[in-house]
Amino acid sequence: MADLLTTQRLTKNFEGLVAVNQVNFRIQEGQVTGLIGPNGSGKTTLFNLLSGLFTPTEGTVSFLGTDVTRVPPHKRVQMGMARTFQLVSVFDSLTVWENLVLSNIRFKTEQQSLRNFFFASSRRKDIADDCMSSLELVGLESRASSVTSELSYGDKRMLEIAIALSLRPSVLLLDEPLAGLSDHEIGEVVSLIYKVKKNFALGIIEHKISKIVELVDRLCVMNYGRIICEGVPGQVLCDPQVRECYWGKEDNKC
């Protein structure tokens, strides 16, 4: 199986605090890779390095065989890497529809004329079809014309995932997609992920291990900026080192 996204000895040093320390991480084609670890272990920092929000102090990131360590975020997205954020990040002042136009239009800009780009209505048919299928995918049709700030947190999360999906990524990075959601909403997000996961390789940070253990093919555990264990979920969760950092020493269930 080909590696789509890999890091080599990736390090991020925040003025003395080594948040990510010599990490070799990889996301493989057709796989769901889970990333877990205690708070402050460097998971989100690692995602920020992968997606280009931070530049690493040392080490390299390669994506689809190209070194992208110094490539700005928007270019990485254009190459096919999309991400969501820990705190849901959609455009509150725009309508749900406009949020989707924003993410879908990028694939139209090459084909459509400049005149259309500057002056066309955002209801134009070719744009509308794509936005419509995004809406249907996450079941937000009835909210299309709502201002996004009026949506519930769960709906915003669904919208954020729909936006990420409409970027047609080959690698999608989800940073705690279930955080702050009710059990019902978690069910919806998880079933959405099941529905679409065949289309791309997925990297997912999550605290609620029980909710995603069925979903992931490979699990990596981070602690103090390092990957301390990786492999098949069943195996990883029984690793004594992992059990110690996650549940404390006394736990001996495995």
Binding site: H74, W97, F117, A144
Partner: protein, 335 residues
């Protein structure tokens, strides 16, 4: 389950019909102002409204507050004046020269300033404006006649005679409506969605695969060109220009106009532009230090009316429609 047609129907109605309706309302509004104020004042106000609209695109829609928008107004003024004196007296060519001049200056300086945000953006623009003022007022005194000012060389061309106040009114009104139309289409287009989203969260836009720099740069250039358009209209209409047209202190004017009217709203920019000019005109004749009132108004806006006049109207309309629906419900209940 909602059908696709239902969803499409709910989305913001198609711009076209509504835009033309609004353009007619705006035209009627300015025509109605003529008996109240003098026609030449209304013409003046409309030029200022074009300037306010150019500023609203930058500040209201893209969220970049500039203290240097007057530079592009002044560039339009001086480029068209100098063109009319040295190249051609044709008013339309002078306009073209002014708009192009402002667009070129905005495009060149935009390469630097759009990389900045917030205070550095505002102040760097102010600095460039100061430089422009200095160049016009002192360095190029031989060409611009410095503080003395110069008369434009624009001459009537066919029916285009700007000393005819009716013609001048219609001509400026045409360009105001043109600017309004273009900005309405622009801000509702996919491009407009991108710049509005840059206002809210630029970093997030980058993570949708957009090189935000180029969108900001294009917007800055369009905004500068429109400010230049307002400048060229001053040249044609006032026919005498002086460095006050490029004075950095005047930057408070579009800012006030847009804040009063409601940033990010084209009607707001026009209403704010008119209200600001009316206040400046009428208050300054009656109140010796009318800026006090302006300052008080600014406090009211900042504390209670963040969305300006446009937001106030929206709140009022909401309250009225609520009251009406309550009354209807009560009426229905009693029957």
């Amino acid at each position: 389950m909602n059908s696709k047609a239902d969803v499409m129907h709910g989305i913001r109605p198609a711009a076209k019909g509504a835009v033309f309706r609004d353009m007619i309302i705006i035209a009627a509004f300015f025509v109605a102002l003529i008996p109240v104020l003098a026609m030449h004042r209304v013409t003046d106000f409309m030029i200022f409204c074009i300037f306010a609209l150019s500023f609203d695109l930058l500040y209201g829609f893209m969220g970049r507050l500039s203290f240097g928008q007057v530079l592009y107004l002044g560039t339009g003024v001086y480029a068209s004046t100098l063109f009319s004196l040295h190249v051609s007296t044709n008013p339309l060519l002078a306009m073209l020269a002014g708009v192009l001049g402002a667009a070129i200056v905005a495009a060149a300086l935009g390469l630097i300033v759009v990389k900045l945000n917030e205070a550095p953006f505002a102040l760097t623009n102010l600095a460039f404006n100061q430089i422009g003022f200095f160049l016009i007022g002192s360095t190029f005194q031989k060409i611009t006649h410095g503080e003395d000012g110069i008369s434009s060389g624009v001459e009537p061309w066919g029916f285009m005679d700007f000393s005819n106040k009716y013609f001048a009114f219609c001509f400026v009104l045409f360009f105001l409506l043109f600017t309004f139309y273009m900005l309405t289409r622009l801000t509702r287009s996919p491009f407009g969605i991108i710049i509005r989203s840059i206002k809210e969260n630029e970093l997030r836009v980058k993570f949708l695969g957009y090189d935000t720099f180029s969108y900001k740069w294009i917007t800055f250039t369009i905004s500068g060109a429109l400010a230049g358009l307002a400048g060229t209209l001053y040249t044609l209409y006032v026919q005498f220009v002086s460095p006050t047209f490029i004075h950095p202190l005047n930057n408070v004017e579009p800012i006030f106009a847009v804040l009063i009217g409601g940033a990010g709203n084209l009607y707001g920019a026009i209403a704010g532009g008119v209200l600001f000019m009316v206040m400046r005109d009428s208050l300054s004749t009656h109140v010796p230090q009318w800026e006090w009132i302006l300052g008080g108004l600014l406090l009211i806006i900042v504390f209670w009316l963040r969305q300006g006049l446009a937001g106030f109207v929206r709140i009022l309309a909401g309250a009225v429609s609520n009251r009406l629906s309550l009354r209807r419900a009560a009426g229905g209940g009693s029957q």
